[in-house]
């Protein structure tokens, strides 16, 4: 049986609720991050919140922890209306939060991090002693063992996360919120975490688990709420739902994008990637042996929830990150580290790159449009009649042509990048990269923050590039976009490839399950 909201309200007395949110709304400028959200979390349960990227999960939890203030709505903690203007009030109300990016002082010991902000007195010694005792107890009770005197920077990510949980427990939190806690963990570390969470539940603690991984939801939660585009779309008892239903709720029945697309005429293989591995600066392995190939005249879509290695894959191929493994372009190796592994060298090999974050990487926001058209192509001999002169007039002429070809509005090459709308900024980047006529185009989130009209235009351009014989590697968290554009789809999860599908032989639900690690 599936409970709907009103039925559940009847069955649950108000006093059984650890948290109740009523009509929470929050907007950032024109973006409505949370729309009239209501949720009831029963005491002593593990309550999951799932949703795609940007569904508003993190915003909602930040409101609960006093990081943001809601524009409207009410918060009830243990049945009592509660104001949470700042983190201090949240802590006092018994809420503990484990952020996705830990808030630990790296060169402090575990003990020091645990007591920070919750010291008993002006002198540290008594607090440290008490914390040491408490840590010992918690370690025994919940498998939360960490060396209290170790420095955080010497601990593995999994242990650092335990410190975050210990911090919350030291503050006597009754309600624990975990934001994407397994994103940085190995599978065995994740299993360990879930054992801890179950133990905490048995002690009467309430746990809110924010995740996009359906397997975790099915394994550990008692109830699950689904968010989509800033709204709370459903709450289910976990035992009475299925991954398929949740995936459907998460993805929704959106109007499918239709793109006019002639069938692909794939040619020879342009790019071959063999067992690619990448460890990021935090020491987390982001790519765990990726292998695939792309052919001429083909769009290969890489689907996945953000944070599963797609961004790193794109940047490794673009020469912005170093990696291990083998990448062949036209059967010739691409250097993956050291000299010859940078944006210039890649462009020389006719690889163009539309980065995921156009405002940080793809454009210099304080540069004029025409200056941005030269970004990455500033060595082009057409722009440099001599090393002592850059021909700004030539760039300007070029820009005018490119802006016209890509319908960038306003068509003013002298306008600064920051003066264009998101869609037009993106067209500017695409104009620069596509007009280079690359053999391989790496493109990340081509339509993020772009209005509907521009989306269609951008999609057509990518297809036209494909039809001209280029290979396109498309990374997007928008399933619809992947389905509409790709000639072949790879799903990435946790740094690995979960599988490959042809777009006409699959659907959003199947891909959603794969993206959640359920295939």
């Amino acid at each position: 049986m599936v409970l709907n909201d009103s039925q559940m309200r009847q069955e649950t007395a108000a006093s059984d609720l650890a948290i109740e949110l009523r009509g929470i709304s929050k907007a950032f400028g024109p973006v409505q991050a949370n729309k009239d959200i209501s949720i009831r979390v029963r005491r002593g349960t593990i309550h999951g919140i799932v949703g795609e990227n940007g569904a508003g999960k993190s915003t909602l939890m930040s409101i609960l922890f006093g990081f943001y203030r809601a524009d409207s709505g009410e918060i009830f903690i243990n049945g009592k209306p509660t104001e949470i203007p700042d983190s201090e009030s949240a802590i006092r109300a018994g809420i503990g939060m484990v952020f996705q990016h830990f808030k630990l002082v790296e060169n402090f010991t575990v003990l020091e991090n645990v007591i920070l902000g919750a010291e008993d007195s002006g002198l540290l010694r008594p607090s440290l002693a008490r914390a040491r005792g408490l840590l010992k107890d918690l370690a025994r009770e919940f498998e939360l063992n960490v060396d209290p005197d170790a420095l955080i920077e010497d601990l593995s990510v999994g242990h650092q996360q335990r410190v975050e949980i210990l911090k919350a427990l030291y503050r006597e939190a009754d309600i624990l919120i975990l934001d994407e806690p397994t994103g940085v963990l190995t599978p065995s570390e994740a299993d360990h975490l879930f054992r801890i969470l179950k133990g905490l539940k048995e002690q009467g603690k309430t746990i809110i688990l924010i995740t996009h991984k359906l397997r975790e939801i099915m394994d550990v939660t008692d109830e699950v709420s689904v968010m989509r585009r800033g709204e709370m779309v459903a709450t289910r008892v976990t035992a009475e739902t299925s991954p398929t239903e949740l995936a459907e709720l998460m993805v929704g029945r959106k109007v499918l994008l239709r793109v006019e697309k002639p069938p692909a005429q794939p040619g020879a293989e342009v790019l071959r990637v063999e067992s690619l591995r990448h460890v990021d600066s935090q020491g987390v392995e982001r790519l765990r042996g990726i292998s695939f190939g792309i052919r001429k005249g083909e769009i290969l879509g890489i689907a996945g929830v953000s944070g599963n290695g797609q961004s790193e894959l794109l940047e490794v191929l673009a020469g912005l990150r170093e990696a291990e493994g083998k990448v062949l372009l036209d059967n010739e190796a691409l250097p993956l580290s050291g000299a010859g592994c940078d944006g210039q060298a890649r462009r020389a090999r006719r690889i163009a790159h539309v980065p995921e974050d156009r405002q940080r990487r793809g454009l210099v926001m304080n540069f004029h449009a025409w200056e941005n058209i030269a970004l990455g192509y500033h060595h082009d001999p057409r722009y440099n009649p001599s090393p002592w002169r850059m021909n700004n007039a030539a760039i300007l002429r070029d820009t005018t042509g490119k802006m016209e070809a890509f319908d960038v509005r306003p068509p003013d090459p002298q306008l600064k990048a920051s003066g264009f709308s998101g869609g037009n900024q993106q067209k500017l980047v695409l104009a620069r990269e596509i007009e280079y006529e690359p053999d391989l185009l790496l493109v990340g989130q081509p339509t993020r923050g772009v209005d509907i009209g521009a989306i269609e235009f951008i999609h057509q351009r990518l297809i036209r590039l494909r039809d001209a014989g280029a290979a396109v590697l498309l990374v997007s968290v928008e399933l619809d976009e992947i389905l509409a554009l790709s000639d072949r789809i790879i799903v990435m999860f946790d740094g690995r490839i979960m599988g490959e599908r042809m777009p006409d032989e699959t659907n959003a639900q199947e891909l959603g399950l794969m993206m959640a690690g359920m295939a």
Binding site: F65, M97, H101, K103, E106, L116, G117, E119, L124, S127
Partner: protein, 320 residues
């Protein structure tokens, strides 16, 4: 070199190290909280002038010192307003404070005393009196202990206060709640913020302590080490203190040894124009430059890398 010369040089080392020590600990506390401070020089200079001027007018060196602390804290708060409240560039703010002090002290000194930008010479109670440790006369002739005790005795009270500040600073930073939070805010302000503590409050607190210590440094400089204020009398000591702080890698006890080393270099350079070590003549300028050279070497990481507090220099902007 005879014993008497060595004793003299070491005594002078302690005196010269004192303003450096105050300023170095001041910078240490500020930077531990994530606020870079290259304005130590300016705060010291301002304090030196105010202490000398007020001590002269009031005839009481301690009134002068209190005024110096007040003036220095005011400059500190200006730095705080620029770098904490308005999230301005901490380095530029420090530079500005150095010039502000260099200018105002001379303009006001000239206006008040008309002696070419200096204060009149201080004497009597307007100057910091030296205090003799007990039994210094009785112990003078005891071998080893005698000369050591003589070196330690006969300094102005602020010399003892400065060296007392070393364990105090250590204790404050590493044994108290305030110190834990202060260090945390310099490493990762987000950790402090999510723990429900005010980042801004902590940083202002650190900046204010920095001001107090710079005030003491300046007061000792003008009323203890010298007998009055002269134009630009800090002569780069604020930067030597900064160098000592980096050299000590932001640790109080190491800071003490660093300023003693730099103090010794200055004392030796003052006493001898040229020194020969193993037959090689070392010019006095090399001695003067040594603190700076050592600091660059440390910064370059050739001998143990100096890693500043990680959140240093950046204003805190709340995000998650």
């Amino acid at each position: 070199m005879d014993i008497a010369t060595i004793v003299q040089v070491l005594e002078s080392t302690l005196r010269l190290a004192t303003p450096l020590l105050f300023a170095c600990l001041a910078g240490l506390i500020s930077e531990r909280a994530g606020i870079f401070d290259i304005g130590l020089e300016g705060k010291m200079l301002m304090a030196a002038f105010v202490s000398a001027a007020i001590a002269f007018v009031s005839g009481n060196v301690w009134i002068g010192a209190s005024a110096a602390i007040f003036a220095s804290v005011m400059l500190s708060l200006l730095h705080g307003v620029a770098s904490i409240t308005f999230r301005g560039n901490q380095l530029i703010s420090g530079v500005a404070i150095n010039f502000l002090a260099a200018g105002i002290t001379v303009v006001v000194a000239q206006n008040w005393f008309r002696q070419g930008g200096r204060t009149p010479s201080l004497s009597g109670d307007a100057r910091m009196q030296r205090i003799d440790l007990p039994f210094v006369d009785a112990l003078r002739d005891v071998p080893v202990l005698g000369p050591v005790y003589t070196i330690l005795s006969g300094h102005a009270p602020l010399v003892y206060v400065a060296f007392l500040c070393v364990p105090l600073t250590w204790y404050l930073l590493f044994r108290t709640r305030f110190g834990l939070r202060l260090r945390a805010v310099g490493e990762n302000p987000a950790a402090v913020d999510t723990a429900g503590i005010s980042v801004i409050g902590l940083r202002y607190g650190a900046v204010a302590i920095c001001g107090v210590l710079c005030g003491l440094a300046g007061a000792y400089l003008a009323t203890g080490l010298s007998a009055g204020f002269v134009k630009d009398m800090t002569a780069g000591r604020g930067f030597i203190a900064l160098a000592a702080m980096i050299f000590a890698k932001w640790r109080p006890w190491h800071a003490m040894w660093a300023v003693l080393l730099f103090g010794l270099l200055e004392a030796v350079a003052n006493r001898f124009q040229n020194i020969e070590i193993l037959g090689i003549g070392i010019p006095v300028q090399a001695m003067q430059a040594l603190p700076y050279i050592l600091t660059v070497v440390i910064l370059a990481g050739f001998v143990g890398k100096a890693i500043p507090p990680r959140a240093g220099g950046a204003p805190y902007v709340k995000e998650h």
